[in-house]
Amino acid sequence: MNLLAIETSTEACSVALVHGEEVIARSELAPRRHAELVLPMADALLAEAGVGRHALDAIAVGRGPGAFTGVRLGVALAQGMALALDVPVVPVSSLAALALEAPREDAAILAVIDARMGEVYAACYRRGDDGTLQPLDTERVCAPEALVLPAAEAWQVVGSGWAAYAEILRERLGVEPLAADGACYPQARHVAELAVREFRAGRALPPEQALPVYLRDKVALTLVERGKA
């Protein structure tokens, strides 16, 4: 199968192409330049693999959580491509993609993205015996101090949340993580990996149903809430 994956929900902008058994990708740490980069990256990958746009079977996208604008950019691009090509979209959690950056097999994974405003997006996973990623809880947005973590003997931490809140997160974990990287981001090659499984499991969606997941859903106060009505 041929699948194109886009991930723009954090500082890293990346595109990956699954072509048969092969996965090739482009990735750049390019805050605020994502909108310029995605389509040229996609072109480069298709050219490298010798795959035409019309040979794509599905578009995958990191649907968040992450920066609102970045999440929407990725989703809108994926929706537009998929509608035009008449193929489905496979939306994938950007936290799950981030978790696949974790280096070890033998420790639970805390994927944590700095959500600004004193909060983080977070979710925990472990690697199953078959190598697949298994969620240990559900993704959420909260203050790092308020993170409630599932029980695990050993931990590894990935994502910008570690860069912002290492001390607090150490306390929440209760142990020193075996590995911790605050400078890694969700990548399209991992969005692609997760999406291929989803696609094969029949969980691809019509493009208009592939929507962003922001987690932070209260973004403004109504007149009533401001006491003005």
């Binding site: 609102f68 691009l77 537009g80 509608l83 929507l211 962003p212 922001y214 973004v219 403004a220």
Partner: protein
Amino acid sequence: MDNQQFSKPVLGIETSCDETGVALLRWEPAAPGRGLLAHTLYSQIKLHADYGGVVPELASRDHVRKLLPLVREALAEAGLTPADLGGVAYTAGPGLVGALLVGAAAARAMAWALGVPAIGVHHMEGHLLAPLLEDDPPAPPFVALLVSGGHSMLVEVAAIGDYRILGDTLDDAAGEAFDKTAKLLGLPYPGGPALAALAGQGRHGAFRFARPMTDRPGLDFSFSGLKTQVLLAWQQSDRREQTRADIALAFEEAVVDTLLIKCRRALATTGARRLVIAGGVGANRRLREELAKAGQQDGFSTYFPRLAFCTDNGAMIALAGAIRLAAGQHQGEAVQVFPRWDLETLPPAD
């Protein structure tokens, strides 16, 4: 660009503020309105009403939910599939950056996937060209009065794409003045159309407000003082329903009269014989009537879009985009938006 491509329909996408608009238009130079194949619109007014104004983040979120269903609806209405498209046009600015980005990204990605050109359209050029969708479309040169939620401008149009701003607002835009004044009078958001409806019940001569900046030369506008006049009049009044309607009428008369005086001046200055009116306030019945009447008196012709194409819509974007695509213009693969964008910097469209 081979013009063959532009016998094919162009998809137009508008997401600059709080309406999602989509249209399909086949470029017909002699009668652009005949080429309009479908248009669909979703207004977010209800969504923002609880907040007392447009919340940019919520607007962006809604565009991403509504855009594709609207595109599907328009395609179905026209009996087309994406593969039938010859190009994709989208509003690239001015507007809310997050909202613009949704339309631009989806549009750019569709064009990329289809291997057809994409063009970013200036929202105000869209408004300005909307009257071309009607029968007997105006040909340049003409003067355009652009009166919307964010703009009040008089523009000299020497040719499509050749714009000179003759006058601009120094503070509130005309539509903004309608909305803010409506709020002062206790009308629900967004007040403009409600205020105009209320004015229909007003009695002439009960109140009179000054016509701002008409006593000195120049083509600029200023509407914020008018708002203050209204507030004072309302606070000092008996606040009865009839009084409210009387004040609404006096306000509407002051705005319309001010616009009329400046339009006459702009026509005199430029020597133009055609006046084009566009933007949301162009839906105002009194404005339409007064300008048409003045045209008959002075001997200039007036051109208005139909009411649905005064406020934001996809048809005007499809039209402006089709004109530029047919002229061989298009964008590269970078998804670019321009939240602030000067109309005068546009290239000519031929």
